[in-house]
Symmetry: C2
Subunit: 409 residues, 2 copies
């Protein structure tokens, strides 16, 4: 019989009632004859509450102790889910990350799974138990708890599916799948039944908060089929896998969807002298300050001078402008910036074989009179940086223009 | 330099402010040059809150999962205390029970410490760290979390003090020591500066909720000197140790104090045929039902029939009466009971050498017109079961009669 890994996020186990509902769903799958490993996040706002408590006792809590503290959230929810399953007559055993054999290396708060010792899980599955594993955590060689950082429970689930050779990994969340655009902005947006890991990774990085890109990449690496479903209904959700079968390729449309992000600022260095090491001089201070840079555009140099522009989150705008201002002066240039921007991207592996998507996107935005501040493209996406207040309009226009609501996705 | 184990109970770490106050106290002791191991309980009502949550998801939660769940409370408080110490510039490392090397055998919820692997703690102490250990918990051979049951954190602290050969174990609580009687009832009650393990064990079993008897017994077994102090002031508290030194023996008064308990019911079987196995037939059903029996009195048999009376907690009264009612009928007797009773005990090792304490107690109660329902004595205590509504009056009268407020204890 096949093994299936299910993962339930914090909103799916937010209260005792939610946990009982998850138990009911797990029981059904178990009765269907599946060997189940269930990964659970901390209940609702538990992690935020614990972080607030840490902030009350210390100005700058140590990462090791933060990991000790936060890892208790998942330990609580796995124990509670096991109890709720027992209450339904289902045999179940909860395991913390260390008990489940999750061996982690790397730094506290951003650990990397190095090995999963699956013996105990396999033994419990053989005994007919549902195995419930605390997401987001494991143990290093010293016996210390290390957490995996953002998206950690998704990563735990996909890594378990890979090492247990599971049939699939089901990610239960508060949405019923991945959409062609944000349904709150585009009411005609449609659920995507199947999508490739590359597409979902681009969509996730570009602001669709369905599943963490790290977990998607891990799934792609180990060919784990991932199903994103709602924990509140019985819909089929979205399946993430490589579209290698012919049927899929032939019926597959070229564009997966449109994603957007409203938290974008742009910093531009103009007229700076370019040469070897220029970009490094611009971006090294940002990296040191822990500022993430997203889109980067460098103009072709003219008479030894060029323009470099990049985007950062709005919270980092002032600091990024200050840091690069110094660099710009030392390179004989100036710095300018624009704070209230957004990004919009069209994503799809089909774009590989059919050029012209970028042009069509620029055309649609141009006809709507929406100014494009920056452009960035990869093999499977085109991104435009535009004024934040025009983003929603742009999403609707592109969704219509690319006929996403009319396709049988 | 000597090692000292400190233990802070749930009320001492109830909020972020409390935890910061504990950190200040720990810092002072650490600056004084002590090697410190600090045992912490779960914050305030955390354990109750988690148990309530368990009750919401399952009617009869499994002991293993209850242990998984409850052990997170102490894990949180040790991490928070470590952070608060870092914030003061004190090097500190938190350890869960398993990380601290607490190896436990026995059943979930009532584990027994089998071994403490102290290497990691000793290494951290050598490096100058304050070691903070989660009380109440450890790990069995399977890698599962086992809790120690009631008074578990006290037991953890005393066991650590024994295995680390600590100079002493300091138990910080919300009272500033052990008193000759409950100060809420007897305003003239006095703090006892020094008391023997035997006395404190009797006082604890008899209802003075200062320290768990199990921890006291462990301390006596391994000659750990225990200091009971308030975590809210700087008083000397009460020292628990064998009074072997001459000075102590000579100045030591005979009576340690008076303790009472308001939650007592009495069940009596009258006129039952006695013979070998009678008592076993009476008490086996109670043990099976998990009902704790305290004072037991059997009258001398007259014409082959005797009376047996015992006390139980009020919550167990109806069930105990029902169970023993059947036995009484089968033995040709009857059952009667009295629900609203209390107990009052005078405790002191000095009673060993000076008889007459029981008589003096009966006399005092008699003069006050307080009826005595049952009597039980051991080498170091005399206990009378009396009506619950007369208990407070009896405590005051005995405290005065035995001149406890006037002695230089």
């Amino acid at each position: 019989m096949g093994i299936v890994v299910q993962k339930y996020g914090g909103s799916s186990v937010a209260t005792a009632e939610h946990i009982k509902a998850v138990a009911e769903r797990v029981e059904k799958a178990h009765e269907g004859g599946l060997d189940l490993v269930v990964v659970v996040s901390a209940m609702g706002k538990t992690t935020d509450r614990l972080l607030a408590l840490a902030g009350e006792v210390a100005k700058d809590p140590s990462p090791r102790e933060i990991d000790q503290l936060l890892s208790t959230g998942e330990r609580q929810s796995v124990a509670l889910l096991a109890m709720a399953l027992h209450d339904r007559g289902v045999e179940a055993t909860s395991l913390s990350g260390p008990q489940a054999g999750m061996r982690i290396t790397g730094r506290h708060g951003s650990g990397v799974i190095s090995e999963i010792q699956t013996e105990r899980m396999r033994q419990l599955l053989r005994e007919g138990h549902v195995v419930i594993v605390a997401g987001f955590q494991g143990m290093n060689a010293l016996g210390d708890v290390i957490t995996l950082g953002r998206g950690g429970s998704d990563t735990t689930a996909v890594a378990l599916a890979a090492s247990l050779h599971a049939d699939r990994c089901e990610i239960y969340t508060d949405v019923d799948g991945i959409y062609t655009a944000d349904p709150r902005i585009v009411p005609a947006a449609r659920r995507i039944p199947m999508i490739s890991p590359a597409e979902i990774a681009e969509m996730a990085w570009r602001g669709a908060k369905v599943m963490h890109p790290r977990a998607v990449e891990l799934g792609a690496l180990y060919s784990v089929e991932i199903h994103v479903r709602s924990s509140f209904d019985e819909g089929p959700g979205t399946v993430i896998r490589e579209g290698k079968d012919l049927e899929h390729l032939e019926t597959r449309e070229t564009l997966a969807g449109i994603v957007h992000d409203l938290d974008v600022s742009r910093v531009a260095l103009t007229g700076i002298k370019t040469g070897p090491g220029t970009l490094s001089r611009v971006f090294a201070p940002l990296a040191q300050a822990g500022i993430s840079v997203d889109v980067i555009v460098e103009s072709a140099p003219k008479e030894g001078a060029a323009d470099v522009a990049f985007t950062v989150r709005r919270a980092d705008f002032a600091e990024a402008r200050r840091l690069t201002g110094k660099v710009a002066s030392s390179l004989g240039g100036q710095v300018e910036g624009e704070e209230n921007l957004g990004k919009i991207s069209v994503v799809g592996t089909g774009m590989l074989n059919r050029p012209g998507y970028a042009a069509r996107m620029f055309d649609a935005l141009g006809r709507a009179g929406i100014p494009i501040r920056m452009v960035s493209t990869s093999e499977i996406q085109v991104t435009c940086v535009i004024p934040a207040e025009r983003v929603e309009e742009a999403v609707r226009r592109l969704h219509e223009d690319f006929e996403l609501e009319e396709r049988d996705v």
